[in-house]
Amino acid sequence: MAEYESHDFDVVIIGAGGAGLRAAIEASATGARTALVCKSLLGKAHTVMAEGGVAAALGNVWPEDNWKVHFRDTMRGGKMLNNWRMAQLHALESPERVLELEEWGAVFDRTPDGRILQRDFGGHRYARLAHVGDRTGLELLRTCQQRAVGLGIEVFMECKIVRLLQDDSGAVNGALGFWRESGKLVAFGAKAVVLASGGVGKTWKFTSNSWESTGDGHALALWAGADMIDMECVQFHPTGMVWPPSARGLLVTEGVRGDGGVLRNSEGRRFMFDYISDFFAKETADTIEEGDQWYENKKDFRRPPELLPRDEVARSINSEIKAGRGSPHGGVFLDIASRRSPEYIRRRLPSMYHQFKELADVDITKEPMEIGPTLHYIMGGVRVEADTAATTVPGLYAAGEVAGGMHGANRLGGNSLSDLLVFGRRAGQSAAEHALGRSGTVIDNAQVDAVSAQSLAPFERDSGENPYTVHQDLQDTMQSLVGIIRNESELLEAKEKLGELDERASKVGVEGHRQFNPGWHLALDLESMLAVAHCTTLGAIERRESRGGHTREDYPEPDPELGKVNMVTRMRDGAVVVVREPLPEMPDELKTLFEEAH
C-alpha cells in the first residue's frame, strides 16, 4: 500500500504566483495555519512574465479616473460577458491593493511629485497602470514573496498536486501530490483549499506561457465536481515573437505600443486604421495625425487604433497575415525604432530590448520587431462567487487566472495583476474564515491509494508511448483546430481527436525512476491539459457567435442572446458536459454607466 508523508493545515494554497502568495498572506493574517504548495521553486511563477503594469484607478496621472471608469472599461473590454460584481470589486479595490504593495516594499516608477506613476494601455480610458519599467510582474511577485517569507508562511516547493481529496459530502478536505525532487507521495489535510494555479497555455503550441501553465487548477476543480465557465474565451496576445523559432510565442509587451510603437504590414502601411470596429469608433483616432498627437496630448485627441483591446488587434494582425501582407517569418512588423530615440526605448523598455537582443539578435532601437498573435491568457475558468471566491464545491476557492468571470470574453492588459491581488486576498480571507469554522479533517487512505496507483501507472508501461509525443500532438490539435479563428467543422474534428488523445494519454509510459523525472511530470500534466482542452472545445462549439477572445468564422457577429449566458462545463458521469446558464444580472445603477456618452 502507498506510503506517504502527511501534513495538516487550515488552508492549503495551490500555486505560488501573485494570487497564491496574496491569498497565503491574507489567510495567514486571518489566523489560519497556511501552506503554500507550488510546482516550481518559489518566485519563478508565471507572474514574473507580466510586464506592462497593474491596473488601478489611483488617479495619480489623471485625477478624472475613478473606479466607475475602470469598471466600465473592464466590462466593455470583456464584451459584457464579465461577472459584473467581480468587475466592480476589482475596480473598487485595486487601488488599495497597489498601495498595500508599496507598504510592503514595492518600488514603482514615480511621478515628479513622488507618487506612483501610471501608464497607458490598450482599452483603458486613462493612463492607469502602475508599473516598474517593463517588469511589473516580477516586482509584484517579489514583493508578495518577501512579505510571505517575512510572515514565515510554510512553502512546499516543487510539489505537484495531482488530486484534491474530498469527504463523503463532497467537500474538499485536502490535496494529494508528489514531490518532484524525490517522487514521493505527500498528502495535505486541509479545511480549505485555494486554487491559484494560473493558466493553461501549454495546451497550445505557440504561447507566451511557461511550462507550468498546464491548467492543473482547472483540472483539479473539474475533477472535484466544480463548474467551469466560458472556457472557450482564450486570449491571443497580439504581439508575440515569431522569430527565431525557439522564441516563438514569447511575449512582446503592450507597453511597446503604449510608448509609441506602431504596427505595419509588409507594405509599410499602418494597417490598424483599417480595422476600427464601430464599437470603438467613437474613442479611436481615425487619422495617423490624430493618433500621433495623442501620445503628447491625451486630453484633446483620441488614442491610435494600435491600442484597441487585444482581441481586436490580434484579429487584425491575423487578417493581414492571411491576406499575404505579413513579414518574412509570418508575422507583421512592430516598429518603435523609427518613432522614438534609442535612449528612450532603452529606458522605457529595457527587458524588451534585452529579449530581442539576446534571443533574436535584433536591436529594437534600429529595426522593427516581427510579431504575431500568441496564446496568452484564459478568461474562462473555475466559476466562483464574486465576493468570496468560493467555487461550487464546498471548501474550494479559486483566484487569479484559474478563476473565471472577472474578465468576460476578453481581458484588458494590466487587469490580470490587479485581479491577482484583489481576488487573491478575498480567496485567502474567505478560505481562512471557512477553515476556522470547521473541525479537523481526515485523510481517506482509499482515495490516496487509488490516486497514487493511477499516477504511478506510467512507470508500469515502459513500452508505452512517449508523453512528449502525445503532448506535441495535443498542442498541434489545439493550435490548428481551436486556435484564434474557429469554425464548427474544425471544432468537431478537435473533439474527436481529443477522444483519441485521451486514449493515448492513458497509455503513455515513462522510463527511469521517480526522482526528478520530467517525462513522468509531463505524463501527469498531460491529464490536466486534456481536461482543459475538452472544456475549451465544448464551450467553443456551443458558443455560436464571435465575442472577445472567441472568434467563429461561421458566426462572425456577436449574438445578443449568447451575450447573456455563460457556457458552463462540468464533469458528469466521467464525461465533460456543457450547458448554458444565465449571467448574473447587473443592477440598474451600474447599467447607467454604459448609457452615458463618452
Binding site: 501552506a35 510554510e154 512553502v155 516547493m157 516543487e158
Partner: protein, 287 residues
C-alpha cells in the same frame, strides 16, 4: 564534506528541507570546464602590477634626477612630490628641506598613494585574483580551496588581521585627495619656465597625469559613498546627489580603467622627468 546544521533555534520544521552541504554535481571543482583562456587576464594583471612595483622601487632607489630644474624645467616627478629635500629648491615650493633624511624621500611619499591603491576596491580585486588566486577566474577553483593534501584551508576573507585593515580605505582616500592637489600644483608649475609661462611636451604630460589621478581619486568607491552614496534619500541632498550622479558614479564605472591609466601616467611622468633631468633627452618646447 557535508555541513551539518545544528538545531539551535528549535523552530518549527520547515516544509522544504534546507540542505547546504552535500555531494555536488558535475566533475570535481578542481576540473576547470571553461574553454576560454581564463588564465590570460590574471597573468596580465600580475605582470602589470609587478611591472609597476619593480619600476617604482627602481625609481625610488634612484634618488636623483627627479627634478628637472637643472635644465630650466619646473618638473618634479610624482614619485618625489611633494618635494622634501633641498634637491628641488628652485621648485615653487619646498615642503621639507630636510637634510637628516638619508633614504630616498620617495619611500616616504609612496606610503600614502601606496596605501590608497593597496586598499582600493579595484586593486584588491586585481591582486586577490592574480596573486592570491582567490579565485584566479570565475568558476575556477580558489587556490585556497584544496591544498595538495586535499584538506580545505579555512577562508576568512577580509574579516581578520591584516586584511580587516582594508576598511581604512576612506582614510587613505583623504590623503589621496591631498596628493591629487599636490600633483595638480605640480602640473601648474610645469608651465613655468625661467623666462615666464610656456608649454612644453612635459607640461602636457604633467596635466594628463593630474587628470588621470583626479579621475581615479574621485571615482573611488569610498568617495562615492562619502559624497552621496551613504544618503538614504538622495533627493533630499541636492548637492550630494549632483556630485554622486554626475561626478563620482560615472567615474566609478571606469574605476579600473583610471586605476591603470593613472598608474601608467605616473610611470611615464617620472620617466620623462628623469630623462629630461639627466639630459638624456631634450624636452621640446611647444609655446
Amino acid at each position: 564534506m557535508p555541513v551539518t546544521v545544528v538545531d539551535q533555534t528549535q523552530e518549527a520544521p520547515r516544509p522544504t528541507p534546507v540542505r547546504i552541504g552535500g555531494p555536488r554535481g558535475g566533475p570535481p571543482l578542481s576540473t576547470v570546464l571553461r574553454k576560454d583562456r581564463w588564465q590570460v587576464q590574471p597573468a596580465l594583471t600580475a605582470l602589470g602590477l609587478l611591472g609597476f612595483i619593480g619600476y617604482s622601487i627602481w625609481a625610488a632607489l634612484r634618488n636623483g634626477d627627479f627634478y628637472a630644474g637643472n635644465v630650466g624645467r619646473d618638473y618634479l616627478s610624482p614619485l618625489y612630490s611633494p618635494c622634501l629635500t633641498h634637491s628641488c629648491t628652485t621648485a615653487g615650493y619646498v615642503w621639507g628641506g630636510w637634510n637628516w633624511w638619508r633614504v630616498s624621500p620617495a619611500f616616504l611619499i609612496l606610503i600614502f598613494p601606496g596605501a590608497f591603491r593597496t586598499t582600493c576596491y579595484y586593486y584588491r580585486k586585481a591582486y586577490y585574483r592574480s596573486f592570491w588566486l582567490s579565485p584566479p577566474g570565475c568558476a575556477v577553483p580558489d587556490a585556497g580551496s584544496t591544498s595538495p593534501s586535499g584538506v580545505r584551508k579555512r577562508y576568512t576573507g577580509e574579516t581578520r588581521f591584516p586584511l580587516i585593515l582594508q576598511n581604512v580605505h576612506r582614510y587613505t582616500w583623504y590623503f589621496a585627495v591631498v596628493f591629487a592637489g599636490i600633483l595638480t600644483w605640480d602640473a601648474i608649475t610645469a608651465f613655468r619656465f625661467p623666462n615666464g609661462v610656456g608649454v612644453a611636451l612635459g607640461s602636457l604630460l604633467f596635466v594628463a597625469n593630474a587628470v588621470f589621478i583626479w579621475a581615479y581619486t574621485l571615482g573611488c568607491h569610498a568617495c562615492r559613498h562619502l559624497c552621496g552614496g551613504s544618503a538614504k534619500k538622495l533627493s533630499e541632498a541636492p548637492v550630494r546627489q549632483w556630485f554622486w550622479k554626475n561626478i563620482s558614479s560615472p567615474l566609478n564605472e571606469h574605476h579600473q580603467l583610471f586605476a591603470w591609466c593613472s598608474l601608467f601616467s605616473i610611470i611615464v611622468t617620472d620617466l620623462y622627468t628623469y630623462l629630461v633631468a639627466s639630459g638624456a633627452i631634450h624636452d621640446p618646447r611647444i609655446i
